[in-house]
Symmetry: none
DNA sequence: CCGATATTCAACCATTTGGTTGACGTTTGG
DNA sequence: CCAAACGTCAACCAAATGGTTGAATATCGG
């Protein structure tokens, strides 16, 4: 389930900090790692987790791998949360129906997969 | 950081399912555990994780411990996510429409209770 | 009071996670 | 061509996670 990987990825403060950095601009792996007090390999792993969750995409140009934020990957998770946060006692059946059509729309957008 | 525990708690499908169940009504621990194919102790642990994250509160009355959804605990995490997503108006519009009908349904249900 | 019910605790286990280090393959610039 | 920079891989480690069982603790109903 994508919600699993997305929420799990966001559960780590280092990874959230990385996402916040990428909000400003695309970055090379080395530059992402720079402000952190841990090894480059550790950051590389964090980026792999974020990429697996779809929250970051990576493109290699020359010897530099550029990291790009992919905020759309948060959509489903955000919708899921909003159903709780803002609306108490929502009808679950109706909500699941709503979510199903929402996600269908997503799927049709991702036709290249 | 509360975001750590909230996101981590939401990263597990069993725990998300529990929250969805509590969306409908407060429940005793045993009743929460019922639909799952795992031990009561395992569910008890999951509820502890959710409680530690503030997503659920538990109140013991007699020998029964009642579990209550605390959606406010998602607020900070939800806001954090939305700061990334300029999520499409599409889904928000649909969601608001969904909500409008939801509240209508709720209102009509209340009259029959 | 007694047995059943509700829940947690404790010990244990396998797997995952988050980190390290050092070696490795590419690409680049001089 | 060669050294330096970029990034991953592999092996390893400690700690956390998610699950199991069985015993323990309250509390209820009769």
């Amino acid at each position: 389930m994508p919600l699993d990987t997305v929420f799990a990825a966001l559960g780590d403060p280092t990874r959230r900090a990385i996402l916040a950095m990428l909000l400003e601009d695309d970055m090379a792996v080395t530059d992402v790692a720079d402000p952190f007090e841990m090894s480059l390999a550790a950051i590389s792993k964090h980026l792999q987790v974020l990429t697996a969750a779809g929250l970051v995409s990576q493109e290699k140009r020359g010897r530099v791998k550029w990291c790009k934020l992919e905020p759309d990957a948060m959509r489903e998770a955000s919708i899921w949360m909003q159903s709780f946060g803002q609306f108490e006692a929502v009808n679950l059946d109706d909500f699941e129906r709503f979510l199903a059509t929402e996600l269908q729309d997503d799927a049709s957008e991702l036709s290249s997969d």
